[in-house]
Symmetry: C3
Subunit: 205 residues, 3 copies
């Protein structure tokens, strides 16, 4: 129940930050709504398509579309104060990352998939929405370039899967995985932790 | 039957305008064919994948691939006169939009999906082909930026679904939905109607 | 057995060239791993999703993910000598193209799909990984712009399917298809063979 509320907060936060990305590209209101929905629900959709897990969550619960499109439109109305709320949104986005990760792990787990795929399923759920947003905004995905994001998802997913595999009880393991992931992500933002970059300048052509 | 002819006209028109987009990026003949097929058949393919509706239409009817690839190649031959035909193609593209929309609504309807998903299925069928074309041409999708396009699809889909839900007979409802959508789209082109844009210039990073 | 070894060599080669593309965009180590996996395994994944052929190969054999991510990371370590190995990699990439093509044809063949779809399945398996790589690197896909690549895949697939349809024994047909495809691809690189380009400069808007 609490978890479902966290999920709704997460898709709202994802849709609102996607709406700002749409505004940076001067998209129209339709584009803002679509980019909000795709960013918030795209990670789970790609996961379900790759795992053959039908129906997709927004097909089963169409109000997810209304919630994310509504959140994206609301962002247009309150765009002026969004900048002041940016620390709130960084935290909400981090909560979204760990919530999405746990959901993704759970779905692969219930399908009886191998451990590595369970962790990948969490990472795809947490990260692919942002990749779709960046591709549609014609950017190289941020995920590939900066900050601990996919890595946070892999760590949280690893703790969750490892704890369950060790026979520990579900709820404490889930809370520990989310707490570690959230802390790691917020520390990474606060102190600017990055993965090392690979710079290659030679051209073969 | 007439509807099937309209569908073939629509995929030919989509493939031909996609071929011109390929030409603007100096793609080779293979790229022209591929972009034509992806643009014309991509919206329906994404819809089917998201809804788990197999087999995809072009897998069942492979001649759709031949028709769209052939139309794209033909465009290279008649590129010189395409500019004079541009008003014809704007009308054909608008017809394609409403035909695709009705097809997409129908498929979701037959799967027994909720009303909102039926309308989304129509919009995905009508609009995603162009989004794939723009992403592959390295542009921000036009759909997100200009003109009434997705909105026309939503209006046409809404009339179609609403009419059927109200128990009205199928064919008149379908014709009405298509007529309203087509008129709205052509008026939007003629008078340059646009959705309002959301412009946001602050950068959080 | 030999074929499986060739497949592993192919996904390693694809992941390593993708890692260099990631390095040209200064991606971080996570981005390098992800781009390597997506490029090496994306063609087969898109094929399976389009054909509804579950589970995907890397879901069934998760060590493919470890192999491709490991190959991508290794590339960072040996980046300095990669330039000297570029002829080796062009050959490995060409081998990968024909191996992927034959695998893709086989899967569609076993699903009992029409000849044209069998050839498309080979081409999707061989070519889409590189398209995903280019889209994620924010480039217009090379596939659409240069060299005989998709065409090589279509020729190899056509020989393979045609030979089987003519009742010839499987192994010689497969070897012939791969040999012709490989030769054609290497000749195309050596002599700079290209498909003709379609250049269209008029703008309708």
């Amino acid at each position: 129940m609490l978890f479902h509320v966290l999920y709704l907060i997460a898709i709202v936060a994802e849709a609102m930050t996607a709406a700002l990305a749409a505004g940076r590209r001067s998209m129209d209101w339709v584009g803002v709504c679509l980019l909000g929905c795709i960013t918030a629900l795209g990670g789970g959709s790609v996961r379900d398509v790759l795992l053959g897990h039908y129906p997709l969550s927004w097909v089963q619960h169409p109000y997810y579309l209304a919630v994310t499109a509504g959140a994206a439109l609301l962002t247009i109305a309150i765009a002026r104060i969004m900048h002041r709320l940016r620390h709130v949104f960084l935290v909400l986005d981090a909560i979204g990352l760990v919530v999405f990760t746990v959901i993704g792990c759970n779905i692969a787990f219930e399908l009886g998939l191998p451990v590595l795929i369970v962790i990948m399923s969490g990472m795809i759920t947490g990260c692919v929405g942002g990749v779709l947003r960046d591709v549609l905004c014609n950017d190289v995905p941020l995920l590939f370039r900066s900050e601990l994001y996919a890595s946070v998802s892999v760590v949280a997913g690893g703790i969750y899967v490892g704890g369950l595999a060790a026979g520990l009880p579900h709820d404490p393991v889930m809370i520990a995985a989310m707490a570690v992931g959230l802390t790691l992500r917020l520390l990474a933002i606060r102190y600017g932790w990055n993965m090392p970059k690979f710079v290659y300048t030679q051209d073969w052509h």
